[in-house]
């Protein structure tokens, strides 16, 4: 039988040459007359080892990495197809400590299966959640999700079950499930990994959501910067239709659900749910006033569930193993697991799914191995461009929504970007305003004008013009944006700005410990 060889199709792996590696493996196998079955899987999430090639052996899957295209011939020479020794041999994939220390629930299949194969998906516990959901009433599905304690993984952390319940109880002739896949935060890529590595779990989650609230049409609003995810999602959706898991009669239940991917067009603000809905309707992505909530009047004025990719991709395991199972992970009011993304100046960047409660220090040093540059880590930004910068003294904070709120920070979508001691925090504060100015939808004044004024004031501070006065001005401006903006873009830009000033005053011409 042909030996199975896995080479990721994840776009980060592709960015390091995975396609060339795959092509060389095919060519080398053909040259040597060896029969192989090359599977393009998702990434296991150990990006410093990409391209990570795996071979299925009698003992289990053996990993090799990082494989460069030029290494392929030597892998064949060493008989890597039997899992033999080679300088790049990483041993059995399942025994890699970095993976073993994780609790992969949402990411259970990513990197393991062929992402677009329904057969492989079902063979690895896929569609068990849907089977259970089909036997339940909508209200019972919603109850299971509520019991799991799952909160919106996009960043706002609103309880998913409560949102679904509102849509369930909103009478309408048409309801929608919208997946927010406009993952624009710097330092985050877990949505992309799901969509490229296990898209069917998202398809299943959305189908269950549709059954729960009585929606028959779903849209995945995917950012245009993810062309590879678009291809994988469309293949997976087509295969799900083919296998009867989407369409007019799901698994012979007589219930229907249709799903379509819609492409975004590079506007960060469209990650805000109401702006996203405007965009789906074919308009400029201007933020809507709330109320009405999208759960009551959402897409095309109909009740709409808008959930992040990770929230929806977590629903299948909740319905498979029960709300109680999922609820048993985590701490405090943060239940379950969070797919954390290590990014920026970190030696071992990658995807770590852990129960809430793990500390930043464990993530940065035990998993991350410290900075990539070898210099001390000076600051980390958690939760994307609108998240606070944290100094080393806060690295022992456990990942928990409420614990982060206590230190005036946010977990957001679980992205962690590290900076070494060469970072200039005043420049980062300026950048936060600049980003807000580029991406503001322009509907509300604090965001539209405040962001540009913020850049100007930061320029004066950087030029050492009238420090004390301008710091006071930035604080005053931040207060206006924080309290007066319509959505989180303007409303949270002060997080990176003020945290930078408060924790790193010396970069703003203030004395350490002196908070102006």
């Amino acid at each position: 039988m042909a030996i199975k060889i896995y080479v990721p199709r994840d776009s980060s792996a592709l960015s390091l040459g995975a396609n060339k590696v795959a092509a060389n493996i095919q060519a080398e196998a053909a040259k040597r007359g060896v029969e192989i079955n090359l599977i393009r899987n998702g990434s296991r999430g150990l990006f410093w080892l990409e391209t990570m090639v795996e071979v299925a052996t009698a003992k289990g899957r053996v990993a090799y990495g990082p494989v460069m295209p030029k290494d392929v011939a030597s892998l064949f020479d060493a008989d890597f197809m039997s899992g033999a020794a080679h300088p790049l041999n990483l041993g059995l994939t399942d025994e890699i400590a970095w993976l073993k220390k994780q609790e992969r629930l949402t990411f259970a299949r990513v990197g393991i299966t062929d992402p677009v194969s329904v057969e492989d998906y079902v063979a690895h516990d896929g569609y068990k959640g849907l089977k259970n959901a089909l036997a339940k009433s909508g209200a019972d599905i919603v109850k299971e999700v509520t019991d799991s304690g799952l909160r919106g993984r996009g960043g706002a952390a609103f309880p998913t079950g409560i949102k679904w319940n509102t849509v369930l109880n909103a009478p309408a002739d048409q309801k929608y499930i919208v997946c927010n896949a406009d993952e624009g935060d710097s330092g985050t890529y877990s949505d992309r990994m799901i969509m490229e590595g296990d898209p069917l779990v998202l398809v299943e989650g959305m189908t269950i959501a549709g059954l729960a609230v009585g929606a028959t049409q779903g849209y995945i609003y995917l950012r245009s910067e993810y062309p590879d995810a678009l291809v994988t999602l469309n293949e997976a959706i087509a295969n799900a239709y083919q296998a009867g898991y989407l369409g007019e009669d799901i698994c012979g239940s007589g219930k229907r659900f249709h799903l379509e991917v819609r492409r975004a067009a590079g506007a960060y603000v469209c990650g805000e749910e109401t702006s996203l809905l405007e965009s789906l309707e074919g308009k400029r992505g201007l933020v809507r006033f709330k109320p009405p909530l999208p759960a009551i009047e959402g897409l095309f004025g109909k009740p709409t569930v808008v959930n992040n990719v990770i929230s929806l991709a977590t629903v299948p395991i909740v319905l498979d193993k029960g709300g109680k199972f999922y609820q048993d992970f985590g701490m405090g009011r943060s239940r379950g697991t969070l797919p954390i993304q290590l990014a920026g100046n970190i030696k071992q960047c990658g995807l770590v799914e852990k129960a809430f409660g793990v500390t930043l220090r464990e993530l940065l040093y035990d998993f991350g191995g410290g900075s990539a540059s070898g210099k001390p880590i000076r600051a980390v930004q958690v939760g994307g461009p609108l998240g606070a910068y944290l100094p080393e003294s806060q690295f022992d904070t456990p990942l928990d929504y409420e614990k982060f709120t206590e230190i005036w920070a946010v977990l957001g979508h679980g992205g962690i970007v590290a900076f070494d001691d060469t970072v200039d925090m005043a420049k980062m504060a300026r950048y936060a305003f600049e980003f807000c100015a580029v991406e503001s939808c322009g509907k509300c004044t604090p965001c539209r004008i405040g962001s540009t004024r913020g850049v100007e004031v930061m320029d004066k501070i950087i030029a050492k013009e009238d420090h004390a006065k301008n710091i006071t001005l930035v604080r005053d401006l931040s207060d206006t944006m924080l309290n007066g903006s319509l959505c989180a873009l303007g409303g949270m830009t002060p997080y990176p700005v003020l945290s930078a000033i408060n924790h790193f005053p010396e970069d703003f011409g203030l004395k350490k410990g002196q908070v102006a």
Binding site: S15, T188, Q341, A343
Partner: protein
């Protein structure tokens, strides 16, 4: 903004292009929220959304020309003028900054002799900023057309540019 040679601001598009635009419009008439998928289809096909197509789109979707213009210009992805043969995007977001993207940006601008949103004099490459390619585990990131590249240093970006110019 520097445009490719022989192009004026009010671009005159060929009848052939107008025919294919009309075909895309026709294919999207019954799509709910048709404008975004339609603009994508047009840009995927001809590389941009010509201003001269706005009245046709507006009429078909029962919108004003101003609304179409508003949508095209709101989104960073859409362009109303023909770009160079290839589009090079450099990520400007925090993760890439932490790994030295600012030096990379400066180098690329100097090497190509253009700023962001401009096209090289030979019409080969349009340089665009991008705010996150989702490749934050392999910062700094850049992309040439739809191909994302990770851990891009000066040697790598030179390769990417040379490959594009050779193609």
């Amino acid at each position: 903004m520097r445009l490719p040679q022989n192009k004026s601001w009010r671009e005159v598009v060929s009848d052939e292009i107008l025919v294919s635009i009309d075909q895309h419009i026709e294919a999207h008439l019954n799509v709910p929220g048709a404008l975004m998928p339609l603009l994508h289809a047009i840009q995927d096909d001809i590389g941009y959304v010509p201003e001269s197509s706005y009245p046709r789109i507006a009429k078909a979707l029962n919108l004003s020309v101003a609304e179409v213009h508003g949508v095209v210009t709101f989104y960073h992805h859409f362009r109303s003028h023909a770009p160079g043969k290839h589009i090079l995007q450099i990520c400007r977001a925090e993760s890439c900054q932490s790994m030295g993207s600012e030096a990379l940006e400066a180098y690329v601008k100097k090497t190509l002799g253009v700023d962001y949103h401009q096209t090289t004099a030979d019409g080969a490459i349009t340089l665009e900023p991008v705010y996150c390619l989702g490749n934050c585990a392999c910062s700094p990131a850049a992309s040439m057309d739809d191909q994302v590249c990770g851990r891009v240093d000066i040697a790598r970006v030179n390769e990417i540019i040379a490959e594009a110019r050779g193609a």
